[in-house]
Every structure is written in C-alpha cells, then in structure tokens.
Symmetry: C2
Subunit: 304 residues, 2 copies
Amino acid sequence: MSLAVVGSIAFDSVKTPFGERSRMLGGSAVHFSLAASFFTEVRVVGPVGDDFGDAEHAVLRERGVNTDDIEHVEGGQTFFWAGHYEYDLNTAHTDDTQLNVFGDFQPKLSDASKSADVLFLANIQPDLQREVREQCTGTRLAGLDSMNLWIDTARDSLVRTIRGVDLIFMNDAELRQLTEEANLVRAARAVMDIGPRVVIAKQGEYGAALFTPDEFFALPAYPLETVNDPTGAGDSFAGGFLGYLASQGSEDDTTLRRAMTYGSVLASFNVEEFGTERVQRLTRAEIDARFEEFRRMTTLEASQ
Amino acid sequence: MSLAVVGSIAFDSVKTPFGERSRMLGGSAVHFSLAASFFTEVRVVGPVGDDFGDAEHAVLRERGVNTDDIEHVEGGQTFFWAGHYEYDLNTAHTDDTQLNVFGDFQPKLSDASKSADVLFLANIQPDLQREVREQCTGTRLAGLDSMNLWIDTARDSLVRTIRGVDLIFMNDAELRQLTEEANLVRAARAVMDIGPRVVIAKQGEYGAALFTPDEFFALPAYPLETVNDPTGAGDSFAGGFLGYLASQGSEDDTTLRRAMTYGSVLASFNVEEFGTERVQRLTRAEIDARFEEFRRMTTLEASQ
C-alpha cells in the first residue's frame, strides 16, 4: 500500500561530541521517507528552495522515494536548522533556525498523495497537519507526531488534529504534558480518549512503548556502543513503523509489534552516523538481521 | 540453595503525592528479603535497636525469612529515614536520616550466613561490603548494589569491592558515573573489566537491562496505572532476581533472563502500595501470573 508523508525538508548543521557536519540533507519528512522506503512506496510532500539541488533529490530517488510533491519555491531557501548535543546525546540544543520557504508552507497534495493508504503528519504546526488530513480523503490510516512547542502554543488545535488520526508518536514528556497525567499508562489512555487507537511513546535511549486499548508492548533501544548523531531518530522510527504497516495492510497486534521493531531497527541505524549517512547505504538484509537481533535480545528464553 | 543479605533494616517515613506513612518497616535488607523469600531460604543480616519489636520480626518470619542474624543493639534505635517524592516519583528527596545503630554496624555473620550459596551486599559503605564478602568463604555467587554517595566518597574502596563480586546492580547514572563512560553499553563493559560477569542496569520506570560478556537483554517496567511509593523497588528487584537465581542453582542466559523478569515482577508489586504493604500479602500465584504477563507484553508475536 502507498504511504505519503508531509513535513520538513531541511539542511541541518549538527555538532556532537563525536564530530560535526554542515548543511546535511535532513528534515522530518526526509528521515521518515528514507526509513519507510525499505518497505513500501513513499511519496514525500514539503517545500524546498533554490539551494535544494539534484544531489538532494538523488538521495531520495535512489531509495525509490517519489519526489513529485516536493514543491520548489523559486527564489526561496530551504529550511535550515543548526544544533548541537552534549555528551549524553539526549537533548538537542538549537543554535539557529531559519524557516525560509517553510514559513509560508501551504501543503499542496497531488491526487496520488491525497489517496495514499497511509499518511504521516510529521511534526509541523497542527493547523497545517489538520488541513492535510482533511484533504486526504482516501487515507485509511493516519499517524501524527508533534512536540512541546505546539502543546504550549496551539494546544486546542493540536487536540482537534489528534482527534482525526489513528496513531500518535510522541515522547513520554510530551504525552504527559499534553494530557496533564504524570503516569504514562494513564497519559496513553487519555490520548486514546481523544481519538487515536494506537499511542507510541518514544523513549529515546530506553526505546519505545506501544499502547492500544487492549495491549501494551515495549521494546528497548538497540544497545549501540557508538551513537554519533541522534537527529532524525524519531522520524526514522516512525518511517520504519508506518512503512512496515503500509506494506502489511493490517494493524493487528502482531503486526503492530513487528512495526515497533522495524521502527527501532531504523532508528538504531539512523543514529550510528550523521544525518542520513548510514540509512543511505543501508540494505534490507541488514535491517532483517537487526530485526532478528531484537527478537533474540527481548525473548525470555535465550537462544544458544 | 541458601541466600544471605547484608544491609539496612529501617523505619521509613514516606510521603508521596498519593499518601504518606510514618515509621513503616523498611530498609534495603528488608525489601530484598521479602522479595527473595518467594523463591528460596533467606537469611537477613543487619542491626536493629530497642524500637524493633515482635511485630517487625513477625513480618519477616511470616514470609519464612531467617532472622537469627539480626543483631539487636541494646539501648540503641533502629536506622530511620524520612523522605518524599514529587509527582514524577523518580527521585527520592531525603528529609531526615538517623543512622542510629547503623552508624557503628560491624557485620557479624553466623556460620550459616557465611556459607550461604548466594550473597547480596545491599547498598552500604563499600569497606563493610568487602569485609562481609571476605568472611563469606562458602559463597558461590555474590551480588552488590551501591550508590552515587560511595562513588563520590569511597571510589577506590568501591572498585576493590566490585572486583570481588559476580553481579552488580546499579542504576544507569551510577554506572556512567562509576566508569566515566556516557554510553551505557561501554559503561557496562568497563564494569565487567573490573570483575563482575553480570551487570544489571536499573532504569526505574523504564525497567532494567542485563549485560553479560556475550548477551544483552532488556525488560520494560510493568505498566502500572497506580504507583504509590517507589521506595524499595531496586531492592525488591534484586531480591526477586537473586532469589530466583538461588532457587535454580544455575546462571545460564535463560536463567538470567527469567531472573530479570522475576526481579521486575517483585519491583512492580512493591511500588503499588507503601513500604512492604503489598509484598507482605503477595502470593506466588500472583507472581507467576505477572511473570506470564511480562512474557506476553515483550514477545514479538502477540498472543490472541
């Protein structure tokens, strides 16, 4: 089944204790698309400026991502973010944000994107997310990511937007802030009361937890000795998750658990190197091998 | 196989957003013993004062814990701790500590305790832990807990003590602080380089992770909607873990994974109510039912 993502396409300058890169290809829609591309046909929707050239398009196209709905704004510049991480790598510190063409972004979706079976609304202003959701009348399954900024500044709009989606991906602190529930289990139930049937709590170095009305499932993060750049981990997770889900055409409990695992696999590869470096040369065989490692390291009976 | 624990026996006054209790029976050796008592014969070693009476002894004896090595210091008072937790329940804030008889504690172990097959050195001054370890010539397997205070004030002694044990239970931050490694996988390896073959990273609401030279295993915490008092969770975890291990007489990978699960089960019951309230009336059937729930909620293929 087809999958469309609406979100940011960006250039990122990132510095971590382990190195730095200038103006790498980044943005939520990019990380999501590359991760999802291993499982299904992906269409990416978002604006870019004159500085977004053939090389950037090629990164997406080489992974089979459909870029027809990337909107080139003549005379504009692509969204730019600069940030750094301290030793613990848990918190991104923003040094510079230039919205550029993203500041006036009005999503225009082709008919093909509007009728994609699965839709991911990456972390953008909730009014825009809702506008996209309402255009996508062919969508069977919609997921959404958001952040503390929108809980602080556009809470009512965000809640209305959440009402229209099936899955939500947020980190623990955001779920707690959104629902004003200190207990994560209660926070997840409070989100389900708004609308979504599936709540995914992203927990950074601790992995992720899945809540549905009847089930709980949790997965640790893959134990990496080297993490170079956590930027894009959450979007890679969502991409692996929804890409796999779209490829299956079902959302039963086992499929959701496998989707959690593929999401964790893609996130783990993403953070091993800077930006999209690792995922660009990733293979399906590597993904499947790490999926099996996840199974092995979470199964109560150790394999010999 | 028999199990001995050396640590604090205490009265705790605890206040959380969900209630408060005065002078409950507590202390690391008590929480550990009660948890371990569901699996094996446990001997508890530690000092108490005149205020420690029949009622307190009875709590331990009713669970079959051997209290012969509880040392009654005439004219003394039992260790007392008062603390509170904020809404997130992650951090204990100490309001009062009265060491009392614990201040002059010189562990005196009976021959039966010295020859216990499994020994747990709960979180006390590392010189004392090492002294106990050296007395226990019959011990086949020794585990240790410690804390940031001893890393700050008695690091060399702590490292020497760690050299003599087989398993270590510490939280993530303490493992990182001890080894000066920001990455948890590297921190665990650095601890193994000191001596222990098994490193258990306690991760609070995120569960726990197990590192051995060849294996990694992680388990989420049980998803509770009601957590009343986290005091003693770590010791209950260690008690469930080592109690189960002692009952098996083996430390192969599957046994260690099952021990992780029993540890998590006991910790989850411990935090549901204040102090030892919940564990005192716990049954083995309840433990086994929750063990199966853990298996269900961490298995990739959902059961229907």
